[in-house]
C-alpha cells in the first residue's frame, strides 16, 4: 500500500460531485436512451469483456452438466447395443411372418427351447405338443429351410432332432431333379461336425459348389422342396459307384429360436410353392423375407384403418388385442391372412410319391 498521503483540494471535490451528478443522471435516464447507450457500449469497447463473460458462463454450464451428458451418452450407447439385437429379432420375426404367409395353413409356430446338456446338442425342445396337433415325424422348418424332425411328443411340448443328429436322414435332390441322394449329418470332427453329407449321388451327377439341395419328398416324412443346404465340395470316399458331397446346411440350429412345425395334412399337401427355390438358396430366403415385410406393411395399413378417429381426424390409440400365439391348422381361416386371402384347399392333393 502507498504510504504518502496526497493533498485534498477543491478540484477533487468538484470532480467527485460531477461524478455523482453523472451517475444520478444515468440512473434517471429513460429506457429509450439508456438501453441504446448500454448496448452501444457492449458492442464496442466492452465487447471483449462480454465475450469473456459469456465464455466463462458456458464453461461453467458445461462443467455442471457433464455428468448429465455422460449419463445420456451411456444411455445412448446402451440403446445402440440393444438395437443390434432388436434388429436381429425383427429380421428373424419378419422371416417367420413371411414363412407363415407362404405356408398359409397346416403349421404350428413353436418356440425352440435349446437343449444344451450332455447328449442334447442335436435335439431341441419345442413349446408345442400333441394338443396343438403335433405328431411324431412332423417336419420342423425355419424360413431358411429344414431344421429337423419331431421325435417324441408330449401334450404340451415335443422333442425334435435337428439335422446334426446322427439319426437324421432326409431324401434330397437338386432343384432341377438331376441328382438325388440321402442327406445326413457329417460325422466328422469339429468344426465339420456341423455340416451335412449328401450320399448316394449317382456318378454321372457332378454337382458344382453352391448348388442348392432341397428335400425330394421321397419317403413321405418331408414334403418336397424344403431347402436343406448347398454343396460345398465332393468328399472322396471308398465308394466307387456313388458320389458323396459335403453340404453347408441351410439352417444353423444354434441360431434358431422360432420354427414352424408342419402338420401331417400340410406335409401331404406339399410345400413346393413356399420356398420359391431357384438354383441358389438366397433367392428362396429373400422371397420369404419380402413376404414378411409386405405382410407387415399390410398389417400396419389394416391397423391404421381400423383405429377409430376423433373429430379432428386423428387416430385414437386403443388397447392391444390379444391373439393366440399358435396358429392351428384351419384351412378356411388361415394365419396371417387378410380378407383377400383365398382359403386353403379343403382337400389337399397328395404329392407323396
Amino acid at each position: 500500500m502507498p504510504s504518502a498521503a496526497r493533498a485534498y483540494s477543491r478540484r477533487d471535490t468538484v470532480l467527485f460531485v460531477s461524478c455523482i451528478v453523472v451517475a444520478l443522471a444515468a440512473i434517471q435516464l429513460p429506457d429509450r436512451v439508456r438501453d441504446p447507450f448500454a448496448s452501444a457500449l457492449r458492442q464496442s469497447i466492452l465487447a471483449p469483456l462480454v465475450s469473456l463473460q459469456s465464455d466463462a458462463e458456458q464453461s461453467r454450464r458445461s462443467w455442471l452438466t457433464r455428468e448429465v451428458r455422460e449419463a445420456q451418452r451411456d444411455s445412448i450407447a446402451l440403446r445402440a447395443m440393444s438395437l443390434d439385437a432388436s434388429l436381429a429379432d425383427n429380421n428373424r420375426l419378419c422371416k417367420l411372418l413371411g414363412l407363415g404367409e407362404a405356408l398359409r395353413w397346416g403349421f404350428v409356430p413353436a418356440e425352440v427351447l435349446q437343449g444344451r446338456g450332455v447328449g442334447e446338442e442335436y435335439t431341441v425342445v419345442l413349446s408345442v405338443g400333441a394338443k396343438a396337433g403335433i405328431r411324431p415325424f412332423s417336419p420342423v422348418v425355419a424360413p431358411e429351410g429344414l431344421v429337423g424332425m419331431v421325435k417324441s411328443v408330449d401334450p404340451t411340448m415335443s422333442i425334435a432332432i435337428a439335422w446334426a443328429h446322427p439319426d437324421f436322414r432326409v431324401s434330397a435332390m437338386t432343384v432341377d431333379t438331376a441328382a438325388y441322394g440321402i442327406v445326413g449329418a457329417h460325422l466328422g470332427s469339429e468344426p465339420e461336425r456341423y455340416l451335412l453329407e449328401m450320399r448316394g449321388v449317382t456318378m454321372r451327377s457332378n454337382l458344382k459348389p453352391g448348388t442348392l439341395i432341397v428335400s425330394s419328398g421321397l419317403g413321405g416324412t418331408f414334403p418336397r422342396g424344403i431347402p436343406v443346404g448347398t454343396v460345398i465340395a465332393e468328399v472322396k470316399t471308398s465308394e466307387l459307384w456313388a458320389r458323396t458331397y459335403l453340404l453347408r446346411p441351410a439352417v444353423s440350429p444354434a441360431d434358431v429360436s422360432d420354427v414352424m412345425v408342419l402338420l401331417p395334412a400340410r406335409t401331404t399337401a406339399g410345400v413346393q410353392s413356399v420356398w420359391k427355390v431357384g438354383t441358389y438358396a438366397d433367392s428362396a430366403v429373400k422371397s420369404i423375407v419380402a413376404a414378411g415385410d409386405s405382410l407387415g406393411r399390410l398389417q400396419a395399413r389394416k391397423d391404421s384403418a381400423a383405429l377409430p378417429r376423433d373429430t379432428s381426424g386423428r387416430s385414437v390409440m386403443m388397447a392391444p388385442v390379444t391373439t393366440s400365439p399358435q396358429r392351428e391348422a384351419k384351412p378356411a381361416r388361415t394365419p396371417f391372412t387378410t380378407p383377400t386371402t383365398p382359403a386353403a384347399p379343403a382337400a389337399p392333393t397328395t404329392t407323396t410319391p
Partner: protein, 162 residues
C-alpha cells in the same frame, strides 16, 4: 504517480477486470468475489480522490453496461467508494493483512448498500436480506479474494523506490 508505478497499477487493474468477467462467472457463487471493487480500491489509494471518483464512475458504467439491472447505480456506488477510499487512504496505508481485509470488506459492503438503495431493488424484506445477509457474505468473499490478489500481485504493486 511515477510512470513505472502507473503501468504496474494499470496491469493489476486490467488483470482484476479480466478476473471479474472470467473467474467470477466460472465460480458461479451467489456471494461471489467482486474484482471490480478490488480493482477500484487498489487504484483509488494510489490516485487523488477526484481521479478515484472518476475511475470509479467509469468502472461502474462498465459494470452497469454489461449487467443491466439499474443503470447508473453501479457508477454511483463505485464513484463514492473510490472517492472515500482515496480520502481515507491514510488510515489504510499500513501493510497489514487484517487492515487490508477490512478495507476490502467495508468497501464491498458499502458498494452493495449504495447500489441496492440507489436501485430500489425488491421490497423492504428482500433489501434487508440482501444488505444484511448476502452483502456481508459477498464482502467477506471479496475481502478474501482481495487478500489473495494482493499477495499474488505484490511484485507488481510494490511502489518504486524514490
Amino acid at each position: 504517480m511515477r510512470p513505472t508505478d502507473f503501468f504496474r497499477t494499470l496491469i493489476a487493474f486490467i488483470i482484476l477486470v479480466m478476473l471479474h468477467y472470467t473467474l467470477r462467472p466460472l465460480l458461479g457463487w451467489r456471494p461471489g468475489p467482486d474484482f471490480l471493487v478490488i480493482a477500484t480500491l487498489l487504484v483509488a489509494i494510489r490516485v487523488r480522490p477526484g481521479a478515484a471518483a472518476l475511475i470509479g464512475l467509469c468502472v461502474g458504467l462498465v459494470s452497469d453496461s454489461v449487467d443491466v439491472h439499474v443503470f447508473g447505480a453501479g457508477a454511483l456506488a463505485m464513484s463514492m467508494i473510490g472517492f472515500t477510499a482515496s480520502w481515507l487512504k491514510a488510515v489504510f496505508f499500513a501493510d497489514d493483512v487484517l487492515l487490508n481485509a477490512l478495507f476490502f470488506f467495508l468497501g464491498k459492503w458499502a458498494f452493495d448498500i449504495i447500489y441496492v438503495l440507489a436501485g430500489h431493488r425488491g421490497d423492504f424484506a428482500q433489501m434487508a436480506i440482501q444488505l444484511f445477509v448476502w452483502s456481508p457474505l459477498t464482502a467477506a468473499v471479496t475481502a478474501l479474494f482481495g487478500l489473495v490478489t494482493l499477495l499474488i500481485l505484490r511484485p507488481v504493486l510494490r511502489a518504486s523506490p524514490t
